[in-house]
């Protein structure tokens, strides 16, 4: 009887097998160049993660942030930027930007106080901009003091419809695409933190890049069927940022979903996803007839180009509830490596 009671008690009181507090000493300082991959994770499930890939050894390390810090990266790792030898990871639905040591992936600081951060762009050691969704303001932050110091309010934008996205800089001016239920490119004078001009493009410009000629590139997704905001053929735009005028518009078919405008290291070739992977000289007058890399029957979710050798890295989120896969191709379209990372790999950051 006593034995039965003992077994029953053990059975009833057995605890969960969590392992907490175990930090790992990671050191990737010897790897030289490398690629950080932000895996968004599932919205509202807090399972974002950070992966690291060494292009030389082709070694991949997953869950770097969790392993180094014994805590989760958070909910929806949106983007990562390197500035002054540190990595800055924007975790959208955790309302935080982590500052990490690039060699150890250890956190060295964080900025909070955002509504819903998306991207960070550094202007100096003491000033950076952070774009947001569900907020009609771009946050101004002091990376040194790790705090939000002010806001740039976007005109004709409500908080509910607020969406500022990627940023590129030319001289004293910063350019921002407004994406969700928006159609604008903003020009901000970084000296005064004021929006000095804006350009209306097509529906929902998703990304932004600046080529070697100082031209701005954006691609719209055209909205969706039934959207009250409109549904149109998407387009790729080459923009003169000085005059804020469209130099060339490359039209796609209605229903296409181009995204992820990226440039090579020389910034003379532009890449984007439109089912397949496409590449085009920044001086071209028409979109190529054939893609650079054919689709593998999946929805490509992220794209980056190795700034040194122009290898092409494509993220495949598969079913969005398992570890996604990265495909690495040469510039000529030869598959040379593939590896699994975290859930929904979406953003890349070259070290």
């Amino acid at each position: 009887m006593k034995r039965a009671l003992l077994i029953l008690t053990l059975f009833a009181t057995a605890c969960m097998k969590w392992e907490y507090g175990l930090t790992e000493d990671i050191d990737i300082s010897t790897s030289g160049r490398g690629l950080f991959i932000c895996n968004e994770g599932n919205f509202q499930y807090g399972n974002a993660s950070l992966s690291y890939y060494n292009p030389e050894t082709r070694a991949v390390e997953n869950e770097m942030f969790y392993r180094a810090n014994a805590m989760k990266l958070g909910d929806v790792a949106q983007s990562m930027t390197i500035y002054d030898g540190y990595g800055w990871i924007v975790v959208n639905n955790s309302h935080v930007i982590f500052k990490i040591d690039l060699d150890t992936c250890r956190e060295v600081g964080r900025i909070t106080g955002f509504t819903s951060p998306r991207y960070i762009h550094f202007l100096s050691d003491t000033k950076a901009y952070d774009t947001q969704i569900w907020d009609n303001r771009i946050a101004i932050v002091d990376p040194k003091r790790l705090e939000v110091t002010g806001y740039i309010e976007v005109p004709n934008m409500t908080m509910e419809q607020g969406s500022t996205e990627q940023m590129v800089q030319l001289g004293d001016y910063l350019y921002v695409n407004c994406w969700s239920y928006q159609n604008r490119i903003l020009k901000i004078d970084t000296r005064t933190d004021e929006i000095v001009a804006e350009l209306t493009v097509g529906i929902q410009p998703t990304s932004l890049a600046m080529d070697c000629n100082g031209k701005l590139w954006t691609v719209t997704d055209g909205g969706y069927d039934g959207s009250p905001y409109g549904y149109e053929a998407p387009a790729l735009y080459r923009i003169d940022p000085t005059t804020m005028s469209v130099e060339h518009k490359f039209d796609f078919k209605r229903g296409d979903a181009p995204s992820e405008v990226q440039l090579n290291g020389a910034r003379d070739t532009i890449y984007w996803i439109n089912d397949d992977i496409w590449a085009m000289s920044v001086d071209a007058d028409r979109v190529p007839v054939r893609p650079a890399i054919d689709s593998r029957g999946t929805i490509y979710y992220g794209l980056t180009i190795d700034p040194v050798n122009e290898d092409i890295y494509i993220a495949d989120a598969i079913d969005y509830t398992q570890q996604g896969k990265i495909y690495r191709y040469t510039k000529q379209g030869e598959l040379i490596d593939e590896f699994y990372v975290g859930i929904i790999p979406g953003a890349f950051c070259w070290r």
């Binding site: 009833a12 309302h95 905001y229 029957g297 969005y320």
Partner: protein
């Protein structure tokens, strides 16, 4: 033998006998475990009424967690809780309340956290194929909830008040009146809680900085559950009238007003005082029923109406002291319901049934308000109406006392979609009268039509979706021993096997938003075990123990979505392979001690079942205890009850990033005056 014959006659003629009584009790009487012809081959779990009325703070999600083997996925206290049978999804569980289906037509699923168990008098789980008797679309099964009249005459009153940890207060009042013809009942339940339980957040750390903003120390914070309060009000009005012999009219009306904050994730670094993240609901459900009973036939007619208003608001103070809207979502559902059922007995060997149910849904979803390109305002949302018809005929045949066969044919029309015939075949056999050893088996083909959000939600709704379809098989054996002095034992073992094709999943599109697609084929199979023991130990001591166990592999057996897809052959995410519950009560002279225990095995959070740091939720055990005392006076019955939940203060998660409370306490006092 003579006793068994009497029982059988009682059972088969119960309908006829009922018609001859002035006071009608339509509850089915289970006598010594014999098999009503209506339930031939049916695999069902009846939730004990004691479990339903155990304490006023419980929702049906709580009750099912500890009293059945089905999986309850809870996002927290008084937060979305869905149930799924046999490795299927929550939308494969159909739920009826007094015969009317109450699944949200936009989502297809039901939130069991919004159903107070004190408002339910009868709860039955119909596993797999057995749900076809009740409704279509229950690829996993169906949950049948109903209210019944009390049999007391004159005025009755019951009042219970509860107070619990985290400033949780519950109040329950039931007023009743009845005579030989009329019975009315009014129930009111009010539950409020700050729900700010403390927990150690191991998903994040807090930093301590020096003056140069260098981190000098980090620690896991002990936090309170942030933004998790609720206030739920339920009112249930019932009126029953026996208008003449064999006829009864019943009106049941249930109103719910719910105001719940949505708790912040464990990985959220925002200041909760800056945010208001809240879901509000107003729901009215009403059913008017007419039961008409004659010696060999019976007819029921029901008319009902459901109104649901759902509001979701996510607000933030941008720093100017006013809360600005980040998300303002509204949905309004009106459902009109009508149902006619008939039963016809030929002797005591045949029963024929037919029923046809009509639902007309009107749905309006307004998800976002935007400024259009031309400067006007626009709404992102949809407005749709859908008529749903479900009709079934069945023949049930009991050629001998020991064998029963039942065939159900159901047909459904949802909008313009006509399902193929939904057939279900049941067979059972009484193997041994001594011990009531009964074998049961069934097979069915079933379909589930996509929900309105699946079809029309903006953005992403996919009007080209196919219905999910499945084959279900089960076979089992049960026994019930009631003839041992002061001991009752029962048990059952059931094997089930089901294949579901065209499983609907919401997946991102190249445009970034999610859209549903028919992507998966799932093979769900396993075993369900149930056991019960009731024992009169003498000197006033009684013991009642019930246990459930289920083993539910639920395997993705479709084609890989891409060559990189590693989910094929793997267990579905968030479906535990093993679940078990034990519920025991020891009673003595008005005292009762209850012990509840449940177990969920490891759940994968990734479709590929990867063993990454966040790829799984560890298994957990949960133990609750309660001690109660009933006091009987000439003027009133009093009750007092103390509960300890999560007795061993276990740290556990049901869903990633959703904190759950540790050990917590409740105290209830109740009074039932005697007039």
């Amino acid at each position: 033998m003579r006793q068994l014959s009497v029982i059988l006659i009682l059972l088969l003629s119960s309908v006829a006998a009922w018609a001859q009584e002035d006071i009608i009790d339509i509850e089915e009487i289970t006598v010594l475990g014999t098999r009503p012809i209506r339930d031939i081959g049916v695999q069902q779990t009846k939730i004990d009424s004691v479990a339903l009325k155990e304490n006023i703070s419980l929702s049906m999600a709580d009750v099912l967690t500890f009293n059945s083997s089905i999986f309850v996925k809870s996002y927290g206290r008084a937060t979305l809780s869905t149930v799924s049978f046999r490795g299927t999804s929550p939308s494969h569980t159909q739920v009826t309340w007094n015969g009317m289906r109450i699944n949200n037509p936009m989502l297809g699923s039901t939130d069991f956290s919004t159903i107070p168990s004190f408002f339910i008098d009868d709860a039955t789980l119909l596993h797999g194929t057995s749900s076809v008797n009740e409704t279509g679309g229950g690829l996993g099964g169906a949950v049948k909830l109903s209210t019944t009249p009390t049999d007391s005459e004159g005025f009755t009153l019951q009042y219970v008040q509860g107070v619990g940890s985290y400033m949780t207060f519950d109040e329950y009042l039931r007023l009743g009146w009845g005579n030989h013809r009329w019975h009315t009942s009014t129930r009111v339940a009010l539950s409020t809680s700050r729900n700010d339980f403390r927990y150690t957040n191991r998903d994040k750390k807090l930093n301590i900085y020096d003056d140069e903003m260098n981190i000098i120390s980090q620690y896991y914070p002990t936090e309170r559950n942030r933004s998790g309060s609720w206030r739920d009000l339920h009112i249930l009005q019932e009126a029953y009238c026996d208008i003449r012999q064999g006829d009864r009219i019943a009106l049941r009306a249930w109103y719910t007003n719910s105001n719940r904050e949505l708790a912040m994730l464990t990985t959220d670094y925002a200041d909760d005082s800056d945010y208001d993240n809240r879901q509000r609901e107003d729901t009215f459900r009403g059913v008017l029923s007419w039961d008409h009973l004659r010696s060999t036939w019976k007819m029921d007619a029901n008319a009902g109406y459901i109104y649901t208003w759902l509001g979701y608001d996510y607000l933030r103070d941008p720093g100017n002291g006013t809360m600005s809207v980040m998300t303002r979502s509204r949905s309004r559902i009106n459902t009109i319901y009508g149902d006619v059922k008939g039963e016809y007995y030929i002797g005591n060997k045949w029963l024929f049934t037919a029923d046809i149910a009509l639902y007309q849904h009107f749905v309006e979803s307004r998800d976002k308000s935007i400024i259009l390109q031309d400067g006007d305002r626009g709404i992102v949302g949809y407005s749709q109406a859908r008529v749903e018809l479900s009709g079934a005929v069945s023949a049930k045949w009991s050629p001998t006392d020991n064998i029963g066969l039942s065939l159900v044919l159901r047909e459904e029309l949802h909008g313009t979609r006509i399902s193929p015939i939904i057939p279900a075949l049941f067979v059972d056999a009484l193997i041994s009268k001594r011990g009531n050893i009964t074998a049961k088996a069934s097979v069915s083909r079933n379909y589930r039509t996509p929900s309105l959000n699946d079809l029309y939600f903006l953005p992403g709704g996919n009007p080209n979706l196919r219905s999910e379809r499945g084959w279900s098989y089960d076979a089992g054996i049960s026994f019930a021993v009631n003839n041992i002095e002061r001991v009752k034992i029962n048990g059952s073992a059931t094997w089930f096997d089901s294949y579901i094709s065209d499983w609907i999943l919401w997946l991102p599109t190249p445009k970034g938003f999610f859209s549903p697609r028919n992507v998966k084929d799932v093979h769900a199979y396993g075993v369900e075990l149930k056991a019960g023991l009731w024992c009169d130990m003498g000197k006033g001591w009684t013991m009642d123990v019930a246990a459930n166990y289920s083993w539910t592999p639920s395997i993705n057996c479709g084609e890989p979505m891409t060559p990189a897809d590693r989910s094929v052959g793997k267990q579905l995410p968030y479906v535990p392979k093993h679940t078990a519950t034990i519920n025991g009560t020891l009673a003595w002279r008005g005292w009762s001690f209850q012990y509840k225990w449940c177990y969920y095995s490891k759940r994968y959070t990734m479709s590929s079942n990867d063993n990454t740091l966040t790829g799984q939720l560890p298994d957990y055990y949960m133990s609750n205890i309660a001690l109660a005392k009933q006091l009987h006076f000439s003027w009133a019955d009093l009750s007092i009850k103390g509960c300890i939940n999560n007795l061993f203060d276990e740290e556990y998660l049901s869903v990633l990033a959703r904190p759950m409370p540790g050990i917590n306490f409740q105290l209830f006092v109740g009074i039932t005056p005697k007039w």
